[in-house]
Subunit: 400 residues, 2 copies
């Protein structure tokens, strides 16, 4: 039985990690530059956007983690460095060089991230001046500053930390994330940085991160708009001094995986529920699919159906829109064996409208937290998808 | 060279078609029941929604046109008769019987359509009383009434008529459509009924309708929400007395196809541009794809990217969102060979940001009609997709 507990400490909860953040002038008056650094070499893995218009820094990050090691993360907000061609790539590489010089490591050990408007060159003079100031500022005390520093239109900083035993030692994982859904005005990007002092083989770290991301960040949607810069990066520096985990059977791996899954889901939900203009936190549980992947696709189809999102904003029990969304997925299922449940009220089952009280059903929608459950009736695959509702504020916030 | 011209007359422009409309009480005070009828037997074809939660009437329609003949169309608004199980199917079949009795034809020759809220049973007492009144009311003068009768939240009735020569005779096609995009509150449905007096073999009619729909109604999107009731139906009664067209080489077929393509595109654009809350008419032209299908998928991805729709509402020249949308399609293309043009301004080409004046580019967006052109740079496939922008009114209009 996996065991872990949540703790304080944010992204710096794990030992031998430090952070710094500053305003270097990309934005007028908010933090726009963040550095996370491991005081010792760390195993590293990252999952990157699949968008074909990928931003320059994602190529640098891909290269940095290719050998399984990295020690520093440098991230700016206010400019995505995307659709910037050759110069953009050179600029991202230069950010790695500057960050490496500031922390005394090779540029090849630096993960680079950017978020902000697409199609504009980075103001490199500001980064040339700003990044060197971060080295001396690195501290164990800057967890909150780091969480704030990667915010764009987020309405609150997003962090989480957990503790568990692995390899005979108490280990910790801390993480931060940014993104008001995938829908920030001008800066459609989800970033998450995770630091752990667990000792773990990089191949196992990669597999575990990938699987956890599949069930967390890849299960959220605000508007279905995939970003060019999405990055989740993890550094594992072994500072907890436990026995390294190499195989899934190793002592504590079960705890590590459960803890990482909890942390990534917690951060992912914070993003989904902080969708711009959102007034509802929506959890969609899909059962009876042929596989997890099919269940998740159904969940995302429901999550992205605008007419459901506007209906939840209006607190209207128009469950037929969930039926329409399910059918529009074109996934292979049988409506006559499907069930649809909205906020505890079963509306459709056994090929017929269920007997329910419409007034009671509508009343239940006056809640901040909304629960949608559907059963596809064709297997035992399950998935949970998190999203938010759709309000006029979303449009107003995103018109520029 | 195909030749045709637009004419007056709406859906009854072709000879030997009549129509009637009434309020039978499904809606409080608007027309909610429409009948179209051919005075002579007609070849018939229909394309139906692919949504897996298909409405009951679509099964009746599918069955009606299976033998290639139909003579009457009965359509109600105010109730979709979808997710209504066995009773819904019986109700749709009963509508066909009633319409057949009213026009003196077999029920198997009746096309049935419904549009409105999902998951409620039809008020059959009102239809039992209402449908028989339509028979005596059928008239050549009711084209406008028919166009109005299928409206739901449409802000204007949508019709079109064309004339051309085929088989040695002047032929006509008239059509009506409804749907404020696919996004009507409670009644997400697009319907279009087309009447022609051309004489045409039903197999050729089917193929031609399918191809024209692929390039018209299947090229529009308001919010990507597929409906449960979408139906396009055509009746061809041969009343123009021309030589029947059987093969694509036959005299006048080229004119017929061009005229039908024009009419379906005209109606489709009327729907896309009447999207709820819309303030812009957006035309997206995709070039350089590997195929028409790939070009259309790219166009629809751009059309459904909410951040582009909100940006057009805000008249902001944030072309990077088009890049992000293209990349998110996951279609196989090379950003370095792609071009992006927004309202006449080339923003991206040859793997780099183009040299353009931002103020001029932004100024051009103060137009009702918006033009987006992208080139994928991998082939010579092309497609045009029509959509509208996304305003706070959309959310307010759809919250119930």
């Amino acid at each position: 039985m996996a065991d872990f507990r949540t703790i304080e400490g944010g992204v710096l909860a794990a030992r031998d990690f430090v952070a710094a953040a500053t305003n270097c002038g990309i934005k007028p008056d908010a933090l726009d530059l963040v550095m996370l650094h491991s005081l010792r070499p760390a195993a590293a893995a990252a999952t990157l956007t699949q968008n074909r218009f990928r931003a320059a820094p994602t190529y640098v990050t891909e290269s940095a983690v290719a050998d399984g090691n990295a020690q520093t993360i440098i991230a700016n907000s206010g400019n995505a460095n995307c659709a910037t061609g050759e110069q953009g790539l050179a600029d991202a590489e230069r950010m790695a060089v500057l960050a490496g010089e500031a922390t005394g490591i090779q540029a090849s050990e630096v993960i680079v991230c950017s978020t902000g408007p697409i199609g504009r060159f980075l103001p490199m003079d500001k980064l040339e001046a700003g990044i060197p100031t971060l080295g001396p500022a690195l501290s164990r005390d800057n967890a909150e500053l780091a969480a704030q520093g990667i915010m764009t239109t987020d309405s609150y900083p997003k962090s989480c930390a957990v503790e568990f035993d692995a390899g005979g030692a108490p280990c910790r994982i801390g993480g931060i994330a940014k993104g008001a859904g995938m829908i920030c005005p001008n800066m459609a990007t989800m970033l998450s940085f995770i630091c752990t002092d667990a000792a773990i083989d990089v191949a196992l770290l990669r597999d575990t991160l990938l699987e956890c991301v599949e069930h967390s960040f890849n299960c959220i949607s605000v508007d279905g708009d995939m970003s060019t810069n999405d990055t989740v990066a993890i550094l594992a520096n072994g500072a907890a001094e436990g026995e390294p985990m190499v195989y899934t059977e190793d002592a504590g791996y079960e705890n590590f995986k459960a803890a990482l899954q909890y942390l990534t889901q917690d951060l992912a939900k914070q993003i989904a529920f902080d969708g711009e203009g959102a007034s509802k936190w929506v959890t969609i549980r899909v059962f009876g699919a042929k596989s997890f992947e099919q269940a998740r696709e159904m969940g995302k189809t429901i999550a992205n159906y605008n007419l459901i999102k506007t209906m939840l904003y209006g607190e209207e029990f128009n469950w037929g829109r969930i039926a329409a969304a399910m059918g529009s997925s074109l996934l292979d299922f049988d409506p006559n064996r499907a069930t649809i449940e909205l906020q505890g009220t079963v509306a459709w089952q056994s090929g017929a409208v269920a007997d329910f009280d419409r007034a009671t059903a509508k009343q239940a929608l006056h809640s901040k937290e909304i629960d949608i459950r559907v059963n596809m009736g064709v297997g035992d695959g399950e998935a949970t998808v998190w999203t938010c509702d759709f309000t006029p504020d979303y449009v107003e916030l995103n018109k520029h």
